[in-house]
Symmetry: C2
Subunit: 192 residues, 2 copies
């Protein structure tokens, strides 16, 4: 038994190595540079090994996305915990979200831009994704306003953040407006 357990441990370790390496490579040189050959070379195994862990490149992206979702949820909760009052919590949430997107562009892409083969807003949505949305809902629900569904409000606020995150990174918005944009969004959308 012990031998098999060791093998399973090693296998799990290698799987983590693949995901971590893919993420690192993507952050360094973009997802286009994450080819199966380069990835295999970096983990010092041959290509087919990747396919014994994942169905294909898409599933590797999905794995990075799930890892990112867990991190993001934790960061959002930490940011809101450190803030006092609904207004401050929402502002902290917004900044933490945009900060995460800016610091981890490849992970953000894996989550929301690329096809990682994950289901969203459905029954079979993976737990980390549900939890990340829950982290948003926790702080945003309290400022949705009377008669407005918290889920609906969260979707709208999230979409706005997502738009800001992606358009900012694509260089489609003026850099000097970054902070006022957040202020405006929070002031207008949230009902304090």
């Amino acid at each position: 038994m012990s031998v098999q357990e060791r093998k399973e441990r090693e296998r799990a370790a290698r799987e983590r190595l693949i995901v971590a390496t893919a993420r690192e490579l993507a952050e360094q040189q973009g997802w286009d540079a994450v080819t199966t050959r380069r990835l295999a070379e970096r983990i010092e195994y041959s290509q087919p090994v990747l396919y014994s862990h994942f169905r294909g490149k898409r599933e590797i992206i999905g794995a990075v996305a799930l890892e990112g979702a867990t991190e993001m949820a934790a960061l959002l909760r930490a940011a809101t915990r450190a803030a006092d009052g609904p207004r401050a919590r929402v502002a902290a949430l917004a900044r933490a979200y945009l900060d995460f997107a800016a610091r981890n562009p490849a992970v953000y892409d894996a989550l929301f831009q690329l096809d990682g083969g994950l289901a969203y807003a459905q029954e079979d949505t993976p737990q980390p994704l549900k939890d990340a949305f829950a982290a948003l809902l926790e702080s945003l629900g309290e400022v949705a306003g009377d008669g407005v569904d918290p889920g609906l409000f969260t979707e709208v606020f999230w979409a706005s953040l997502h738009g800001l995150a992606t358009l900012t990174r694509a260089g489609r918005l003026l850099p000097e407006y970054a902070e006022p944009r957040v202020e405006l969004l929070v002031d207008r959308l949230a009902v304090i």
Copy 2:
């Protein structure tokens, strides 16, 4: 002279054919299906012909994007013209924008999701792009509110629309909330 003019006319026609075919193919089967081989086959020329018109695939995407920007600007202006009052104009604008994104997903991708090699929010930004932003600015500027820069407000409102458009199409938002999301966004962001 006449011969050369005819040749230039034919060349221009073929260029339009390339862009139209690329767009059609992208709308039918997604941008992944728009390969240089397939595109060449559809226009009944060989691959290298594409490269006598465009530097590469990226420039073809860019051409589709510019065409889309012009259309979008016209649609947005038509929608706002038909509405009475600032509130109705903004709501019409939002619906027209999301409608365009939903009806022309490939064009929308070319504009805001893919790399078409175009400059944004800069000096050398192509006119159609500047004009599309101007179309947004025209209706949104009047509801920015006192002391709020119209450009800043437009960026935020646009980002929200963009977020809704992309997340909706990626199946990341609940379909049944589509209309209330727009209502909420307009009610909260716009100062009427």
